[in-house]
Symmetry: C2
Subunit: 376 residues, 2 copies
DNA sequence: TAGCAGAATGTAAACGTTTACATTAATTGT
DNA sequence: ACAATTAATGTAAACGTTTACATTCTGCTA
C-alpha cells in the first residue's frame, strides 16, 4: 500500500443516523435462542415420521399428494430450513465447489469466476473461493477442503496441483474431482494422472496475434511475458516464436522481457524497453492489464500509440476497448470457460465419464486502435 | 455478449498432449473407494478412544505430551483429515462466511472481496460468495445459507437485506450475524434493527471531490450517478449539493445524469452530455469505471481532458492511475474495509458486543491529471 | 371374502464428529 | 502411606439429516 494511501482520519457528520427509526440492540437480538425448527419438530407437529417429511421435501413423488401438500405447507408456514450439515453428513455431498485462484481481483480471473458462480448456482452448487496470492501453502490448504468434506470438487487456476508433494507421492492418495482452468498442469506434477483442462489454444492465439503484427509490417516485436513459469506464458511465447519462424524472422532473446500478468509489470518493463538503444516497433503484452501499464508508460514518455509503437494485449478484459487507444488483443471466451469448467467438474462429481479430458475453446483476435501498419 | 464474440471454432494442434507421460484413466481413479480414514479407525489403530484423538487434535493442552505426539504423528502418517461436516453438525459452527455481492467482477468490489478473503482466512474462516447480479431472489437464496447452516454469517454489499419480506415481518425471525459493506441499509428494511456497517463517509467524499472541482473554477459540473436507488449514490449526490451550496452555486437538475456503476453507463451518459447544447466544464462520475467510460466517449468526440473538460471518478480502482489521463478520484481504503467487515462479523459471530455499529473509514481525494483549473 | 400386489408410511440406524460425564491414573499434601 | 486433588482417558449421547428395511394401508382379483 503506497504512501498515497496514508489516509488522514476525517471527522465528518455521521451519515449513518437515519435517526427517525429507533434501534433495538442488535446483539441482544442475536443472543435470542434459535427459534429454528428441525425436521423432528416438524414431524411431531404434523404427527408423522421424519422420513415422510424428508421424502415430501426431497422426493415429492414418493409420497401421497395429501402428504406432500401438508408437509410442504407446514414447512413454509414454520419457515423450516433443513440443516445442510446434517444432510451433507448423511449423503456425503456438500453441493459446494471450491475455486482456487492466485488473484481474485485480476480482471480476467474475476470474469471467469463470475461465470463459474453463475453456472454452479444454476446447478444448485455454491462456490467457495480461495485467493492464494500464488502462495503454495495456501493452495494446499484450500485443496484440503475437499478432503475435509467442505467441498465436492475443485476448479483450479494454478499450474500446480493444490496438494502437498507427500500426498501426491502417497500410494493411497485419491485424486478428488478437479478441473484446471486456463492453466495446464505441469506434467511433472501429473504423476500419471490426467486432469481435465479447459482453456483456449494459447499457442495458436500467441501465433495469431503475433502474425497480426507481422502482417502490419512489424519486424521488431518486443514481448512482455507473464510469469515465465506459467504454461500459458510458455505457450503464448511458443506461438510468438512460431509466427516469427513462419515469417522467416530470426527470434531474438533480447526482445523478451520477463514480467507478470500485472499492471506494474507492464509499466516497468516498458520503461526498460524504452531505455534500450533501438526501440521495437511493436510490443506484445501477454495480458491486458500489462498492456495498460505499457500504454501508460509509453504515453508518459511521449511515444504515441499506434503511430510510434503498436501495442497488443491478451484476454480482452472488459476495459480493453475503453483504453486509449482501444486495445488490440485476443479475446478469451470468459463465460464459456467458466461454464465448461463447472459442467465438467459436476459431471465428474456425479461419477460420469468425461469424454474430453481437455476442452479447447475458441479465441479471437480483435483488432482495435492500438496497432497500425508500420509503413503508414 | 456482443457480436464481436461470435468466435469461430479454430482447430489447432492439441497443445495438451505432453505425451511423454502415460495417463491413467482419471475416472477410474476417482471411482476407487474412499481410502480416507475417520476418527474411529484412527482411534482403533492407536488403541485409544475417539475422544482422545479429538482432544489431541483440537485441544492439545488437555492431553498428555505422549498422547499428543502419538496421535498427531499418526494423523500425519495416515493423512487423517477430520470431516468438517461431522464437526459442524456437532458444534453448530461452519467456519464459513458468505459474501453477497451484486457484481463480483466490478473492480472495486473485487478488491474488497480479496481483502475479505484474506482476513477471513487469517482467522480460520472460508468465504463463500454469491453474485446476485442485483436480483432479489438471488440475494434471498444466498441469505438463506446461514439458516441452512452453511455459513455462520453474512457480509452484504447490497442495500437490501437478503431476506424475504415475509421472513422479515415474521415475529420469530432472528437476524443472523450480518454486516453491510459500503452500502447502508435502507431504513425501511431495518424494521428497528441496527445492522453494523463499514463504509466511508460518502457525503463528505462527494462534497470534497466536488469542492476540488469548484476550487479549480468549475461552475457547471455534470454528474453521472450510480443506481439512483443506492444509498451511496444518494449520499455522494448530497455531498455534491452541499458543496455547491457552500459555494453559493445553484443546483441544477439538468446536470444530473442517472446512470449505473458501469463502464457502459459512463460512456452512454457522456454521449448524452455532449449532445446537449451547452457543455459542462467538468464531469463528476460516481465510480471509476464510469469515469473510464466517460473518458472514452470524450476522446472519441475529440474533447480533450482536462483541457476542455475535467473529469473525476470515485473509488480509485487499481486502474485509475493508469487511465489516460490519470484519473483524479477519491480513494476508498479497500483493504481496510474488507478487514473491518470480517473483524466485526466474526466478533458478532463469537457473541461479542459490538461497540461501534457503524465504522466510517477515512477516504482521500487523490488528484491526478484529469482535472485542471478552468482558467488555464 | 380372502389373498395379494403395490403404494404409503414408519422405524431406526448411520453419517463423523465433539463433549458432558464417568472413570482411572498420577500427583500432591499430611 | 493414604487421602484428597488434579490430570488423563474412556464411554456414550448428541448434532439433523437420509434411507434401507419393515410395516401398514389401499384397492383389486379370483
Amino acid at each position: 500500500m503506497s504512501a498515497e494511501y496514508l489516509f488522514e482520519t476525517n471527522s465528518s457528520p455521521d451519515i449513518a443516523s437515519d435517526s427517525d427509526v429507533e434501534l433495538r440492540d442488535w446483539k441482544s437480538d442475536y443472543a435470542k435462542p434459535m427459534a429454528d425448527i428441525g425436521i423432528k419438530q416438524l414431524a411431531k407437529i404434523l404427527g408423522i415420521s421424519t422420513a415422510s417429511v424428508s421424502r415430501a421435501l426431497n422426493n415429492p413423488d414418493r409420497v401421497s399428494d395429501a402428504m406432500r401438500k401438508r408437509v410442504q405447507d407446514a414447512a413454509k408456514q414454520t419457515g423450516y430450513r433443513p440443516n445442510k450439515m446434517g444432510a451433507s453428513l448423511r449423503t456425503a455431498k456438500t453441493k459446494n465447489i471450491i475455486v482456487i485462484i492466485p488473484d481474485i481481483s485480476d480482471s480476467f480471473n474475476s470474469g471467469v469466476i463470475r461465470s463459474i458462480e453463475r453456472a454452479a448456482s444454476d446447478r444448485g452448487y455454491s462456490v467457495l473461493f480461495g485467493d492464494t496470492q500464488g502462495i503454495r501453502e495456501a493452495e494446499i490448504s484450500y485443496g484440503d477442503m475437499v478432503r475435509t468434506r467442505q467441498a465436492d470438487g475443485i476448479i483450479c487456476f494454478s499450474h500446480n496441483l493444490p496438494f502437498s508433494d507427500s500426498d501426491l507421492d502417497s500410494e493411497n492418495f485419491k485424486m478428488p474431482p478437479i478441473v484446471n482452468s486456463c492453466e495446464q498442469l505441469q506434467s511433472l506434477q501429473l504423476a500419471g494422472r490426467a486432469i481435465p483442462l479447459v482453456t483456449i489454444d494459447n499457442v495458436a492465439a500467441g501465433r495469431e496475434i503475433t502474425k497480426h503484427l507481422l502482417d502490419l509490417g512489424h519486424r521488431e516485436i518486443a514481448l512482455i511475458t507473464g510469469d515465465i513459469d506459467s504454461p500459458s506464458t510458455q505457450q503464448r511465447l511458443l506461438g510468438y516464436k512460431l509466427a516469427l519462424k513462419e515469417a522467416n524472422i530470426e527470434f531474438r532473446q533480447e526482445l523478451i522481457y520477463e514480467g507478470e500478468y500485472t499492471l506494474e509489470a507492464g509499466s516497468s518493463k516498458t520503461a526498460e524497453i524504452l531505455s534500450n538503444s533501438k526501440r521495437p516497433s511493436a510490443i506484445f503484452c501477454m495480458c491486458d492489464e500489462t498492456a495498460l501499464g505499457c500504454l501508460y508508460t509509453l504515453k508518459k514518455n511521449n511515444v504515441s500509440v499506434p503511430t510510434d509503437i503498436s501495442v497488443v494485449g491478451f484476454d480482452d478484459i472488459k476495459f480493453a476497448r475503453y483504453f486509449s487507444p482501444a486495445l488490440t488483443t485476443v479475446a478469451q471466451p470468459v463465460d464459456e470457460i467458466g461454464k465448461q469448467c463447472v459442467e465438467i467438474l459436476l459431471d465428474v462429481i456425479d461419477g460420469q465419464t468425461i469424454d474430453q479430458k481437455t476442452v479447447i475453446l475458441p479465441h479471437k483476435v480483435v483488432v482495435r486502435d492500438s496497432t497500425q501498419s508500420i509503413s503508414s
